[in-house]
Symmetry: C2
Subunit: 176 residues, 2 copies
């Protein structure tokens, strides 16, 4: 990258450097959901067409990008900033949990979707959060876990396959 920059016109490089500095200065965390944002409130939180009654709780900003790419979700988000992991010294107090409780208190939220990785730390975090939210009466759900769509059954890992059988779901033929 350095060699490439040295080959460019001085003026171009100066402008590029300015852009980087401005970007770093301007980009902040959304005060509501902790997504990256140009303004105090991010473009998702500010979008009135989105469903404010549903909050999707994610570990990080990358998860928002991944979920947005699917075009299947029209609610809001809340970035925890990680998962509970005692081995890494991350406790509930290091995550944006208090802020989530405040949002539930303040806004009319009907459902919280835990879109958290189904790892041990992730499951612990889901459990902890759900216990906390239990008294609020909000509906709590997790994203579906199981064999990947489009995947071949025999190549699924043993844990996923085993749990997918235990967590099997009723199938109903849709009307036609």
């Amino acid at each position: 990258m350095v060699l490439h920059l040295l080959k460019q016109d001085q003026e171009v490089v100066k402008r590029f450097a300015d852009d980087i500095r401005t970007a770093r200065e301007d980009i902040q965390e959304c005060s509501t959901c902790f997504n990256l944002s140009d303004d105090e409130v991010c473009s998702i939180c500010a979008d009135s067409r989105r469903d404010g009654q549903v909050i999707c709780v994610v570990e990080g900003i990358r998860d928002i990008l991944a979920i947005e790419e699917t075009h299947q979700y029209r609610g809001l988000y809340h970035v925890l900033g990680g998962v509970i992991s005692p081995i890494d010294g991350i406790g509930p107090e290091n995550l944006h949990i208090q802020e989530l409780l405040e949002r539930l208190d303040r806004d009319e939220v009907k459902e919280v979707i835990m879109a958290i990785s189904p790892t041990i730390e992730g499951e612990t975090t889901i459990y902890y959060l759900s216990k906390l939210l239990q008294s609020t009466g909000v509906r709590i759900s997790t994203i579906a876990r199981g064999v990947s769509f489009g995947g071949e059954l025999e190549y699924a890992d043993e844990v996923t396959l085993g749990r997918s059988i235990l967590a099997r779901v009723p199938y109903s033929v849709s009307e036609d």
Copy 2:
């Protein structure tokens, strides 16, 4: 393998060849579930400790091996011998569907689990079978589909992530 065999004692190779022939001659399809079997009825169908009220429908024998390895399933199986795939010339009449209907007619079966790969052909087969079974009143379920257990959310493919959000499941904190 040939070079290895040539290095062995003649008597060893003869015995090995006999074993292969016997194996091929002795192994047959289970007359009930079409699993591989030494006898007319396979060891799973013959095992009285297994739950005969649940039948897990799979594409092939490999799926039985994969599911058995998880140690999470205690019911019986039914091998279809493939999935419906017009492009490969495989229609319902090429699969062991009639035999499944006969089993449901004959035995007291309460649930049929569709443990079929969530591919397009697999979904088509699940739909076709479920329509057929609808009138029998048997409970129909599919294995859970979604983000792999232990997997990181951001690495899930777009289709799986999108559908996992749509097919999200209620989460309840277990009593403790």
